[in-house]
Structures are given as C-alpha cells and as structure tokens.
Amino acid sequence: MLLERLNTIHWDWLVYLEMFIAGIAAGAYIVAALLEWAGRGNSPLARSAHALALPLVALAGLLLVVDLSRPERFWHMVVQSERLLPMLKIWSPISVGSWLLLLFGGITFVSFVDFLIDRGVFALGGWRRGRTLHGSAIGRVWAALGLLAAFGTAAYSGILLSTTNIPGWGHSTLIGAVYVATAIITGSAALVLIQTIRGLVDADVVALARTNTWLIVWWLALVVIFLATLGEGLRFIATGIALVGLIAAIVLAGVVPLVLGFVSGARSRSYLAPAVSILLGGLLLRFAIVMGPQSVH
C-alpha cells in the first residue's frame, strides 16, 4: 500500500502539455521512420513529419526547463555541475529522458535541415536538393535511430510516473505503454490534420488516417487494461475533474474517431474532425493521468 501524500510535487499543466507535445513529435517521427523503411522517406507525408518533429521537441524541452523550480540549473540534468562530466543514471527515468530528448532533438534537427534542403531553401556542399539524407540508404539508418529515440521519448514520461510512490501512478507499470500508443495515434492525427489543411491528401494520408482507426482500437484496449489493473490506485486517477477528463479522452480519442471512421468514406475533409478529436483526447488523457493522483489529498 502506498502512502497518501501531503507534500505536493506540482507537476501540472506544463508537465502534461510537455507530455502531449513530445508525444506528437515522437508519434509523427515514428510514422516518418516507417515510411522511410517502406521506401517513401521523401514523400510529402514523411516530409511533413520531418518539419513538425523538431519545433515540437524544442517546445517540449522548453516547457520542461520552465517547469523546474531552478530553471537556470537545467543543464545539471546532463552535465555534472562540479566535474562537468556527462550525468547519466540509467535507473532514473528523468535522467534517461533528458538524454533521450537531447538525442531525439539532434536527430529531428538533422531531419528538419534535410526537409529545408529538399525544399531548396539552401544546400550544404553535396547535401543538396535531389541528394538528401531521407530517401537514401543512410536515411534508413537515420530513421531507425530516430525510431528508437522517438519511442524512448514517447515512453519515458509514462515510465517516470510509474517509477514513483504516488498512489495511482505507482500502482501501474503500464503508463509508459499507454503513452507510447497515445503518442502514435496523436502523432498520426497531427500529420493527417496538417496534410488535410494543406490540401495534400494522397494515398499515404488516406492510408495513415485509416490505419489510425486500427491503432485506436489498440490504444482503447490498452487504456482499459491499464484502468482494470490499477486496483486500489484507480480511485486516485478516476476522481473529480480527472475522471471527467478520462471519460472525455476515451470518447474523443477512441469512440468519436471510430464512429466517424465507420460512417465516412474517403472524402478528404472527413479526416479533419477525427484528427482534431484524437488530438483533444490525447491531451485530456495526459491531463487525467497527471492531475488525478495530485488532486487527492
């Protein structure tokens, strides 16, 4: 049995917003990596993911820094403050997460530069339009590396919550798994939304939107398993405003897109509503999981 808390940790909107944004970046990059391996690393959909991931990762990192009580010491996460050697503790989820964010940031930076080069914005020697990283053999290796870093970025914040003694979080080892699935469905939804707004709905976007319906079934199953196995921890997550958020998340990210998926055809505009609904649901799920246990005192 975990002790109910009197000391609050104040992980609130900055934290769940960071989890949501980093999740979208990770999910979008996972889609791009899979496209790369399917030989479509240069497709408009993959390029959209390359353009999206870096700004989101940068924003997520910024939110994490601002959330620190001593933000000017953010670098202590990766550098030992006295000896200036790398600081890594593999059993500390925040330590591992900091390095993963840094690694993922670096990988998405290169992909973002590659996106600009592909658009003809500039060239760097032999790295020029028509000879880009993505779409080449090295691009596949880069995508594989990015896939791992994206997975880690999506998972670590959920694992961080499980690796606490806060009732509700410490009752489950499945939060990371739920977060990975949430990252993939919200990342996919963000890409579908962007391509639809840009009027670039091709076969890839149609396929991604429909595949996301399958993925939502997996996400829903995971959420149900997570809640069902929480035991006495359930009352700390399914409580008050967090319970409302949880129900809304399941409806918006699960039920609504599934229903809309069944009733809609291949009309491009029909992807807008499900994509927005999934994104809202993903944000509400993070809100419910993060805030629920902190609202019980």
Partner: protein, 269 residues
C-alpha cells in the same frame, strides 16, 4: 569510510515536548511557518502536520481512542527522514544532487538540485518537500555538518528523554533489540522495530513502535520505486511493437486500397 550512523527513535519514551523540532529548526536555520505566526491545526497538539522542505523533524500526536473512549492511548513519535540504505530519492535524482555520505546517510546538495521534484514523488515516506527560500527539495541531513565535526545531531542532543538516540547503526540496533526484549518481558508484547534490514535494505533512522505502522502514518511495506522501471520499459516496448505491426499491416493494406480507388476513379473519369 566511517561507521554507518543513524537514529534509533524509541516512541515509548517520547513525551511530545518538540525540543527536537525546535533544535532542528534552529541549527539548520529553517524558516518558521507563516512567518512565525501561530496557527492551530485542530489536529491534537500537532501544528506542524508533516515533514517537508522546512520541517525536517515532526512530532506526531496520535490519539488512539476506542469509539466509547473507554480505551485510550496517546502515541507520540518524532518523525524524520529514514536515510534508507536503498534510497528511492537518491536513485531517481537526475542531477546527482542527492548523495550518500561517508556516514551512510542521504543528503540533498542544495546547490546542485534544480527542483525537478522527482525525489518528492519517489520517497515512500512522504518526507521530502520544497523549501521556498531556496526553491530546491530539502529534508533532514542528519546534521551532516555537525557529524563531520564529531558532534551529535541537534535533535538527538536536545531530546530530554533519549527517545531519539544517535550513534553507529550496529550499536543502535543492538540497543533497540534489547529494549524490545525488555518491553516484551514487561508484558508489552506489541513492541517491535520498524525499519530492519528487510525494509529498503534497512532504515538508518529506525523506530520502536507499539502499534501498526499505518497508525503512525508509516507505510507497512515501503517500496523502492525504481523496481518498476524495467517492467515499465518492457511493457512500453511491447506496446510499440504491437502498434508498429498494426501500423505496418494497416498502412500497407489501406495504401493499396487507396491507390486502387484512385485508379478506379481516374478510369471512370
């Protein structure tokens, strides 16, 4: 390395005088609550209520009365950081701000801490809190500065009944076991030691209790939070693999369908 040092707190002789709280605050220059203005909590004689970033000692007053008040006992206990041998706070701290000292105690270095607050969530005893003066996480240091100079921690020095005893852990454990034997021989068979080696590798601040741990606001089986790290990564990887397979199969099928549909519509046009 010096001998492992710690506290043995015998709750049966605590009289609730709070000299330990005052001595701790004074030595460590911890700020008073509400600027020193007295606020009554309504919870027995306990106005401190908890351990946190500015209360490193907390004397609990537990009124253990039967519903008809025919049976009454007043349990008093001076609570403090347990300085666990397997310390969850030290494990999760990403900056290395939390260290194990040469005395086997656990100390937060305030000049290194960046206030991520993960240690607060990892502590199974709800000991650590934020100190608003420094904006860092803080807790009892077991008076590391005094120990380095061969002095007894301020709280143990101030305790008038020797409820709080300080010394080498091995010696304290022998003393505590002897005290339990004495209490048992006197008929108080509910006396036991909380924080033996089977609990987080042993608590370097352990207690002699005469009721269930929960009665004192202590967890019966505190857990090292990082035991959940590996399974969490494993389940996350499983989730990713399933999603990846579903995604690949679904994407391949739906893309073929979409291309076929495009071809059909262009032929019809």
């Amino acid at each position: 390395m010096a001998d492992a040092m710690g506290f043995y707190t015998d709750t049966t002789v605590c009289i609730g005088c709070k000299a330990c709280e005052v001595a701790c605050k004074e030595w460590n220059q911890l700020p008073a609550t509400n600027g020193g203005q007295n606020t009554l909590s309504g919870n027995s004689y306990d106005n401190t209520l908890r351990l946190d970033g500015t209360h490193w000692r907390h004397v609990k007053f537990i009124e253990d009365f039967s519903p008809d008040r025919s049976q009454a006992a007043w349990l008093m206990m001076s609570d403090v950081c347990k300085h666990c041998v397997q310390a969850p706070c030290l494990d999760v701290c990403p900056t290395g701000a939390i260290i194990r000292t040469e005395f086997d105690t656990v100390v937060i270095q305030s000049d290194v801490c960046n206030g991520c607050r993960d240690c607060i969530s990892a502590c199974p005893f709800d000991v650590i809190g934020m100190n608003e003066a420094t904006n860092t996480a803080q807790k009892c240091t077991l008076c590391y500065d005094r120990m380095q100079n061969g002095m007894v921690p301020a709280c143990a020095q101030a305790c008038p009944t020797q409820s709080i005893q300080f010394g080498p852990i091995a010696e304290l454990r022998q003393r505590a076991d002897a005290r339990v034997d004495t209490l048992h021989s006197q008929g108080q068979t509910n006396a036991y030691i909380y924080g033996k080696e089977d609990m987080l590798g042993g608590l370097n601040s352990f207690y002699l209790l005469v009721n269930r741990p929960e009665k004192y606001g202590l967890p019966a089986s505190p857990v090292l939070a990082t035991v959940r790290t590996a399974p969490s990564w494993l389940f996350s990887a499983g989730s990713a693999v399933v999603a990846g397979l579903v995604g690949l199969l679904g994407f391949r099928k739906h893309r073929m369908d979409a291309i076929a549909a495009e071809r059909r519509s262009s032929r019809e046009a």
